[in-house]
C-alpha cells in the first residue's frame, strides 16, 4: 500500500508540475460554469396544464409498474379553475367519460372506470405490433401506408371486463389520478378529492399539486444567462435537463475530457520508461509490472478526481438551477472513468511497445475515433433498419460484427444515457423511450470493455517485464 501511495503521489506531482491538473480543472470549472448559466423557468400554468392534462388518457398498467402503456378511448381530461401559488397548482380536474363509438349509443362500459381497472391489472406479455414509421419519426401522420409500417416490440394493455370496470371504487379512481401525476409529471405530492357531480359520465376532482410547475414533466423555458433560448414550448424539464446532462456533459464534455486526458496522460508512461529513469526505479524493491500497473492506476485515479469534480459540480448546479437532484446522473463518473480506463490501457500498450509519447497519443486518438466511428455508423444503420431505408443488410451485419468484437465505447454511452434518463424522464416518457430504443446489454458492454482493458494491460505488462532495461 505504501508503495502504491508513493507512486500515486509521484504521478500527482508529475501531473501538477506539467500543469496537466490545472488544465483539467480549468476545463472542468468552465463546464460547470457553462451549465450554471443555463436557467429553467416553468411555463404558465393556464396554457400548459390545459394541454398536458389531456395526456392523462395514456396510463401505465399494473399501478404504474408495467413496461407497457395503455389508453382507453372515450375519456377526456380538462383542467378548470386553475389557481397558481408559486410552483403549486390548484385546479378542478374534470373527467368526461363517454364512448358512443360513432354510433350514437350510450357506452356499455364506463371508459374512465375501464381505464382505472386496466391501470390496476398487469399488462399482457409483449408482442410485435405494426407501428407507422411516420409515428416513429414523430412527423406526418398522413403517410401511414402498409409499406411504412415497422414491427416493434410493445407490451399490451390488459383486457377489462364490464364487471371489473363496474367494481371500481372512488378511492381507486383517486389513486389512479394521483398516479397519473407521477407518470406524466413526476409529481408525487398531490391531494385529490372527488367533488359530487350530478352529471352521468362526468367526474370532477379538486386537485392540489404541490410543486407541479417545478416537476420534471412540466414544460420549462430555457435561458442562457439572461437570454431566452427556448420559449413557449412543451419540453418537459426532465427532457431538457437530460439533453444537457447527456449531450453537453456526457457527450461533448465527456468527449473533450477524454480526448484531453488521453493527450495529457500519454506522456506519463513514456516518461517513466525513459532511459535513465526506469533503471532508477526498478533497481528499487518494486516489481517492473507492479510499477507499470501502479502508474496506470495513478492516471486512472487522477481522471476519477477530475470526472468527479466535473460531473459532481454539474449535478450540483443543475440541482440548484432546476431543483432536479436525482443522483443517477452521477453514474456518468464511473462511465467516464471506464471509458478512460480503456483508452489509457491502449495508450499504455503503445507506450510500452514504442516508448514514444507521440505514438501513444496519436494511436490512442485514432483508436478512440475508430471506436466512436463504428458505434456511430452502427447507430445510424440501426435507425435506417427501423425505418426500412434501403437494403443495408450486408453493411449492417459488418458493423454489428465489428461492434460485437470491439470494445463497446459507444454502447457505454448509450447505457449511461439510459441510466441518466431514468433519473430525468417521467415514467411515461421512459416507456416511450424503451419502446423505440433497445439498450445494449450491461454484461456485453461492461464484459467486453473489461476484457479489453485486461488484455491491453496484460500485453503491456508482459512486454514490459520481458524487455531488458
Amino acid at each position: 500500500m505504501r508503495t502504491f501511495l508513493a507512486i500515486l503521489r509521484d504521478s500527482f506531482r508529475e501531473a501538477v508540475d506539467g500543469f496537466v491538473i490545472y488544465i483539467m480543472l480549468i476545463l472542468s470549472l468552465l463546464t460547470i460554469a457553462f451549465v450554471a448559466c443555463i436557467g429553467y423557468q416553468p411555463v404558465d400554468a393556464e396554457g400548459h396544464l390545459s394541454k398536458s392534462i389531456k395526456n392523462f388518457a395514456v396510463f401505465i398498467p399494473d399501478k404504474g409498474e408495467s413496461t407497457a402503456i395503455s389508453a382507453v378511448p372515450g375519456v377526456n381530461y380538462e383542467a378548470t379553475a386553475i389557481k397558481v401559488n408559486g410552483k403549486d397548482v390548484l385546479f378542478d380536474l374534470e373527467v368526461t367519460s363517454k364512448s358512443d363509438f360513432g354510433l350514437g349509443k350510450a357506452p356499455a362500459i364506463d371508459p374512465f372506470r375501464t381505464a382505472v381497472a386496466g391501470w390496476l391489472k398487469k399488462a399482457y406479455k409483449s408482442e410485435k405490433r405494426k407501428i407507422p414509421a411516420a409515428v416513429l419519426r414523430g412527423g406526418n401522420k398522413g403517410n401511414t401506408s402498409d409499406s411504412t409500417l415497422r414491427d416493434l416490440e410493445v407490451a399490451l394493455a390488459p383486457d377489462v371486463s364490464a364487471e371489473e370496470a363496474a367494481a371500481i371504487t372512488d378511492e381507486q379512481m383517486v389513486e389512479f389520478i394521483k398516479n397519473q401525476f407521477v407518470a406524466h409529471y413526476g409529481c408525487g405530492d398531490v391531494k385529490v378529492r372527488r367533488r359530487s357531480n350530478p352529471d352521468a359520465g362526468k367526474y370532477v376532482y379538486e386537485v392540489e399539486a404541490i410543486n407541479l410547475r417545478g416537476s420534471r414533466g412540466w414544460a420549462h423555458d430555457v435561458s442562457f444567462l439572461h437570454w431566452n433560448i427556448i420559449t413557449n414550448n412543451d419540453l418537459p424539464l426532465g427532457l431538457v435537463v437530460h439533453v444537457i446532462e447527456d449531450t453537453i456533459v456526457n457527450g461533448i464534455g465527456g468527449g473533450i475530457l477524454l480526448l484531453i486526458s488521453v493527450i495529457l496522460t500519454s506522456f506519463f508512461i513514456p516518461n517513466m520508461l525513459r532511459k535513465g529513469t526506469l533503471d532508477l526505479v526498478v533497481s528499487k524493491p518494486v516489481g517492473k509490472v507492479q510499477y507499470l500497473l501502479y502508474k496506470y492506476l495513478g492516471g486512472l485515479i487522477f481522471i476519477t478526481l477530475v470526472s468527479a469534480i466535473t460531473v459532481g459540480g454539474v449535478w450540483f448546479v443543475i440541482g440548484i438551477r432546476s431543483g432536479m437532484w436525482d443522483p443517477r446522473f452521477l453514474i456518468t463518473i464511473p462511465a467516464l472513468v471506464l471509458s478512460f480506463a480503456l483508452l489509457y490501457a491502449f495508450s499504455t500498450v503503445i507506450a510500452v511497445l514504442t516508448r514514444s509519447a507521440i505514438a501513444a497519443m496519436l494511436l490512442t486518438i485514432a483508436f478512440t475515433f475508430g471506436l466512436w466511428l463504428v458505434g456511430y455508423i452502427k447507430k445510424q444503420l440501426d435507425v435506417a433498419k427501423v425505418m426500412e431505408e434501403g437494403n443495408l443488410d450486408t453493411v449492417s451485419s459488418i458493423f454489428d460484427g465489428l461492434n460485437n468484437v470491439l470494445p463497446r465505447y459507444k454502447d457505454l454511452d448509450k447505457l449511461t444515457s439510459k441510466v441518466t434518463s431514468e433519473g430525468a424522464y417521467t415514467p411515461i416518457l421512459l416507456r416511450f423511450q424503451d419502446m423505440l430504443i433497445e439498450p445494449p446489454s450491461y454484461v456485453g458492454v461492461l464484459g467486453i470493455t473489461f476484457l479489453y482493458i485486461v488484455a491491453f494491460l496484460g500485453l503491456a505488462s508482459w512486454r514490459h517485464s520481458t524487455r531488458d532495461g
Binding site: R2, T3, L5, A6, R9, D10, R13, E14, V16, D17, G18, N271, R274, K275, G276, T277, D279, L280, V281, V282, S283, K284, P285, V286, G287, T466, D468, G469
Partner: protein, 321 residues
Amino acid sequence: MAVIDVSNLQKDYGSLQALKSVTLQVDSGQIYGLLGQNGAGKSTMIKILLGIVRLTSGEANLLGFPAGTIEVRKRVGYLPEDHAFPGYHTGESLLHFYGELYGMNRPDRVKRIAESLDIVGLSKRGSSKIKTYSKGMKQRLGIAQSFFHDPEVIFLDEPTDGVDPVGRKEIRELLATLKDEGRTIFVNSHLLQEIELMCDRVAIMHKGEIVRTGTVAELTKTVERFSITLAPGADFPVAEVKALGFKVERDDEETHVELKPGQSIDTVLDLLSSKNLRLRNVRESKQTLEDIFMDLVEQAERGSTKRGVRVARAVGARRDD
C-alpha cells in the same frame, strides 16, 4: 563469502554477445572497480546483478541470493549511468519517493535525507526542483540516492561523470568513508585515473570478457621500465642492448628499455659508458593503470585481429578450393 559472485555469466542481445562467460567475485568491504571501454559490458553486468536485465546463462548472486530479487534490492544502492531524474521532483521529494519504495518510515527518511544531502553538499538546494540543478548537482544527488537508505552494497556507474575536479575528490573521499563503514562499493568507469585513485581491486573488461583482475598495485608493478635520453648526435645502440636480453622501444626523443625480472638497468648504463655515449637523462617510468589498460586492450585487439585474419584466410582457402 563473496558479496558479489558471478560465474560464467553470459548475456546475448540477439546475435551480439554483451557478456562472454564472465566470472568475478567481490569480497565485502572493498571498493571494486570495473574498468573498460564504452560498450565493454560493464553496465550490462550491473543491470543483471540488479535484475534490470535478464541473464542469458550462467549464475549471478548478490549477498548470497540470486541477483535481482526484491529482497536483495532492498539492501543495494545504485547510481545508473546517464540517469534522468524526474524534473518535477525536488532533491528532497525524490529521496522521499525512493525512500518510500525502500519501505523507510517518515522519521527515518527525514533524518537520512537531511544527512545525505549534507554529505553530498546539496543541503541548501534540497528543496529546489531538480530541473534547476547542474549536471554535477544531479550527479551528487544520484550518489546521495544510492546510499541514503543504508545499503550494504552500492553500485555506481560512472560516478564522477560530469563532476568537476574538486567534486571528484569529494566523491572519492565519500566513497572511502562509505567503505570505512563496511559497505561494499562496485564502481564502473572508463576513467582510469579515477579507478586507480579510489579502488582496492580492479577488473578490466574488454568486449564482454574479464581480461585481468587484481589490486591496482599488482597490476601496475608488473613491468620495470626506463626512459633514456642521450646527448645530441649520439646514437643509441639498440641492437647491442637487445642482444643483452632487454626489450627496447624508441620514439623521437627517448629510448625505452623494459626490464625483465632479475635484470638491472646498470648493465645498459655500463654498455653506454663503455661506448662513450653521454647521457642527458635517465628516468624510471612506472606503468600507470592506463598503460596496463591500453596494453591489454591492444593485446586483445591484436588477438581478435589475428583471429579475424585466420578466419578470413580459412574462408579464402575454402573459396579457393
